[in-house]
Each structure stands twice: as structure tokens, then as C-alpha cells.
Symmetry: C2
Amino acid sequence: MAEPRTLEPEEWEFWDTWMRAQRLLARELDRGLQDDCGISKAEFSVLVSLWRAPGRELRVGELADALDWEKSRVSHMLTRMENRGFVERTSSGTTGRRTGIGLTTEGGRVARDAIAHHAGNIRRLFFDSLTPDHAATLRAWSEQLITRVEGGEVP
Amino acid sequence: MAEPRTLEPEEWEFWDTWMRAQRLLARELDRGLQDDCGISKAEFSVLVSLWRAPGRELRVGELADALDWEKSRVSHMLTRMENRGFVERTSSGTTGRRTGIGLTTEGGRVARDAIAHHAGNIRRLFFDSLTPDHAATLRAWSEQLITRVEGGEVP
DNA sequence: CACTAGAAGTTGACGCGTCAACTCTAGGAC
DNA sequence: GTCCTAGAGTTGACGCGTCAACTTCTAGTG
């Protein structure tokens, strides 16, 4: 028997609830980052990627891969973050071409701070709301979903 | 004993996985809406809200409440959707002031289509990946999270 | 009725993300 | 050496979302 390809009202309600929870969670975390550290979630991601990188330095393409962003998005963001003094395009190679992205001192400071604050907020908003059982379920489901979608195994 | 307010590496990994799954899910749904129906998720939300409204008509403030958006965001979006012919600002009252937002014929058609397509995609990507057990867990957790965050009950 | 406070809605500026077009460089082929 | 191409990175235009300032309507007070 063919599954219905539409949703029952109850399923819509579930979906709306789910989306709402996601939105609230994301909003709260963004607000925390903005209020406590003065940066956006996107800026945070860049700072963390650089912070964790060997030598605290990456290339644009590597950043793009790590963040799963388009290169041009990375480039735009780096321009803005360079203007704010968080990041610098470091020259390397014989021609002095500016390849490679590094943290400034200020950028490193902010990264450290933000990681601590953000970790606290994630614990407070996410982990504290999960029982071990819920956590296991969410984790399993996330992994399965990633495999399905990234593998293109969705019918 | 005080809980640690930072995250263990394993927790970070869990968090990253979780975020990645969310991102993929959202991206895939957006792509479906865009490819199949030529609209963004935001436009979809507006169309659905109007479609479900009594009389297929709402005011800006009501839309803002329903969507949990800022009024100005709604206003900007309506301007764009009005230009695309999906929506019209209907006059009412004695002074002919344009209050109230309605669907155009075209808007109604697109809304119908999009709801069907989107429902199919949600089933395929979300519901099909859930066992009844997972579903129950996710639902319970979502509701609890909403209560906590909206109630401001987070320490 | 005039006045005013405030709600409802709009606008403009700005930072952000995407897409397509562009520049620059490194590395062959000849 | 010269040319040519593929990849890396940047730029510009445009739609989007937020914030603050603004206009306009409405309702209450005297």
C-alpha cells in the first residue's frame, strides 16, 4: 500500500513544533554570542576553524571545506573580519601573494572567549535539556540523516 | 558538585554532527521548494499562513505573530511578493487605507502546489527517517525546549 | 472638538549569503 | 621561452533580515 505523500494535520503540527524549537535554540545561541562576545555565529565558526587549525592558519578553500560554505561566502566574510581586525591575510611564497588566513592577536583573544561562552550556552540550552536517552536518540538520528542526505540515498 | 560549564571533545563532536544534520535538512528542503516551486522557504511560510487564514486574509501584525517574524521583515517580504504578483494589499475601511493582505489567484495556485510538494519532501526527508520511537522523543524534547526557552526558565 | 499617546505599518541603511563573472597564478605541453 | 588551461580567490549585483527612524492611523482624555 502506497504511503501517503502528504502530511496529516497532526504531522504538520509536529513539524511546526520541531521547527519552532530549532528556531528558538538557534536564536538564543546567536543572541548569546552577540551579547557576550560581539560576534555573529558565522564569525564564530570562522574563528573556531582558525583556532583549531594547525599553526592557526588555513587557506580560503580549506576554510570553505571545513565550514561547508561557498568560497565566495568565506571571502566576503574574511574581508569583513579583516576590517574588524580579527583576521589577516598572510603573505607567503616568493611573489608575496596573499594566500593563507591567520588570526590576529585580537582575533585569538575573541576566539578563546567566545568558545568558552558558547560552550556554556550550548550546555545550558542543549545538553541540559537532554536525558541520556534523548541524547542517544538524537545522535543516532543525526548520523543516519547525514548519511542518507549526503549519500544521496534519498529516493 | 558543579557541572562543567564547558564541553568535552565528544560533546563538541555530537554538537557538530547535530548542527550538520540540521543544516543539511534545511538546505535540502529549501532546494526542493526553490526547484519545484520557484519560491524560498520564507515566501512559502507567508503563502501558507495566508492560505490557512480565515478568508485567506491577514494583517501585517497577525502575519508577524503567526510567523514569529519582525513586522519590518514581513513588510519587506510583502513588498517583494507583491511585486512578484503573489500577494496584494487590500483596501478596506472608509478611508480606503490599505490594510490587510490577501493572496492573488496566482499566489493561491502557488501556495496549493508548494504545500503539496513541500509536504512530500518533509515526509521523505524527515518522517521517513524517523522510527515511531525517535519521533516521540523528538517531539517531547521539542515541546520541552520551547517551554523552557519561551518561558525564560533557563537559568 | 482638539490634543496626544501609542499602536500599526513602512522605509532606509547596512551586514549577510548566493550566483555568476571575473582575475590571478601555477603548472604543463610544445 | 610562450601559450594555455585548471584551480584558487575575489568582486559585484541582488535578494534577504535587522535595527532604528519615520509616517500614519486610532483611541482616549480633557
